[in-house]
Symmetry: C2
């Protein structure tokens, strides 16, 4: 049984969507036990008259909620009975194999790091996500946990990303690249220039620099970057996808004829829309911790949140934290 602790109180949409996500995952998979952490009254109210699969879920009561405005320090020090903290505690205590939360990223990172600790050899955990690409997908990290990453940090991100891609995709020797602003060695900022020779001398399948546009191609499996850069790139992608969808809708509404054609084309446009639906890619992994922690987008609905739970299940199934730990133990200078 794979056991996931769910922070049922955090996120913009509230407990209702989270309960629906739990319902859909339990209906799909019979090897999963989900632990809802939150206000029991609220959780049962949302479960309502349509009970969840018996015996494969439980509820743990929490007393408070980490808000989006709480600083990481406040959340860590003052909210020890929050749904987020208790969910992470369950992982630490071995009662859950993973934790999923749609709450405050900074707080989730700080509490996870404090409670679970990092794997030996990793200074700072990183946020990694799966990015859609032409003919496949790419793993990208860091997406915002660390600003001003050093070359050493970048190398650690590369090791973790490579192990993740190998584990969850079954890719043999994933192609790892550094995100840069050109392909020549002289380009880039200091951290990237210093990280390049370190990675070239490592045991990873390092393929050099990629530029922003190459993230979305099948040229690379793991894209490594500083968290500031990665976060801007990810959010930029969301913005572009939204603008492009907006333009497409506008064109199909420009005249009565266009609207008619749009009606005929609707199933095709819907299939297209599904492919770029950000909910399909919801769920970012906090890598480098002694445990699986997955961050859902704050505005995730039931479909998106269920996807984040799936990511946690995938990482538990492939034992990602122990793989990272044992790889670093076997070869502490893997990068």
């Amino acid at each position: 049984m794979l056991r996931v602790a769910i922070d049922a109180m955090s996120g913009d949409r509230g407990t209702g969507d989270i309960v629906e996500a739990v319902r859909s995952v339990l209906a799909r998979r019979d090897d999963v036990h989900l632990i809802l952490v939150g206000d029991p009254g609220l959780i049962h109210q949302h479960i309502g008259s349509n009970p969840l699969t018996q015996g494969r879920h439980s509820v743990v009561a929490s007393e408070e909620v980490v808000t989006m405005d709480d600083s990481a320090a406040v959340a860590l020090r003052n909210k020890k009975k929050s749904s987020m903290r208790l969910a992470i505690n369950l992982v630490k205590e071995g009662q859950a194999d993973a934790c999923v939360s749609a709450g405050n990223t900074g707080a989730l990172m700080a509490i996870s790091k404090f409670v679970l600790k990092t794997v030996k050899g990793i200074d700072r955990p990183a946020i990694s996500a799966i990015i859609p690409a032409i003919n496949g997908h790419t793993h990208m990290l860091d997406l915002g946990a660390n600003v001003d990453s050093s070359s050493t940090n970048l190398c650690q991100f590369a090791v973790m990303g490579s192990i993740l891609a190998e584990a969850v995709d079954g890719t043999d020797r994933p192609r790892v690249a550094l995100l840069n602003i050109g392909s020549e060695a002289m380009k880039g900022n200091e951290q990237v220039k210093q990280a390049a020779p370190l990675l070239a001398g490592s045991s990873l399948n390092y393929i050099g620099f990629v530029e922003g546009n190459e993230i979305y191609t099948d040229k690379v499996d793991v894209v490594v970057c500083d968290g500031f850069v990665g976060n801007v790139s990810l959010k930029t992608s969301e913005g572009v996808a939204r603008m492009v969808s907006h333009y497409l809708r506008e064109e199909f509404k420009r005249s009565t004829w266009n609207k008619l054609v749009g009606l005929v084309a609707r199933p095709i446009l819907k299939a297209f829309g599904n492919r770029i639906d950000p909910r399909r890619y919801n769920g970012a992994s906090l890598l480098g911790l002694q445990g699986v922690v997955v961050k859902s987008h704050g505005s995730a609905d039931a479909v998106a949140f269920a996807n984040a739970i799936d990511i946690a299940l995938l990482e538990i199934g492939h034992n990602v934290p122990s793989m990272i730990a044992s790889r670093l133990e076997a070869s502490p200078n893997a990068a």
Copy 2:
């Protein structure tokens, strides 16, 4: 007469596309004189039997070409008779009002800075481009001229971007924002955190932080960032737009019926494609120089290169370099 010097030898597609771009601009506008700098034989071969508008173009002979592999230092020191250098010299000598080149960005920046000098009060020129947005467009800088920008650099970029938006769009008090990874004051890297209070205390219409997705909205007129971050964001956008178009084409090819619908929807899809066509946005301005220099994408075709010429004409028409100079003279601590 607005006079633009055209580097006719640089870029991936060669002189033919550049001559066609010149032809189309001259056909559209009768207030323009274009000076083609390059190999006269090659240029005339491409002009061929269909001569350009008489009296509104001239050819200046160059002897060499700055290649994409040349370092900025080599291009600056050893290629003094290159098409790029001579085109910039024409601006310095007052024989042209602007220069457009599809060549090596680093070399173009280095030569422009050496020959034309920066405006007093600007330490480092920045690359600025117009980014499409929902209901309008955004000016974004720096897009790759400066990595590791300081907070002072960011403030100078903000001043230049604000003046550019005011001049070319006629926007009164353009809304200026810093690109960051969250909207809270505690988020971001050191440079961004230090630049924020400086901008808040300036005479600019500073609206705070925006995240990557907001670049493509009508929330902001000028987005300011470090060149590494800006370049990654811009290239990411290209990659996403290409992937999305690829997905859309795939869906309209999935079956015979889909292909038929695609045929009917073709004019609509074409109108959509035109709106996200990167050629429409080709042409980045090197801001902060004592003269107008526009960089075209290396792979620009005739349509795209003509757009870069249009951008140069717009900046000459609005006298952007003198506006930046006089604003900084009037209020040296504008930022």
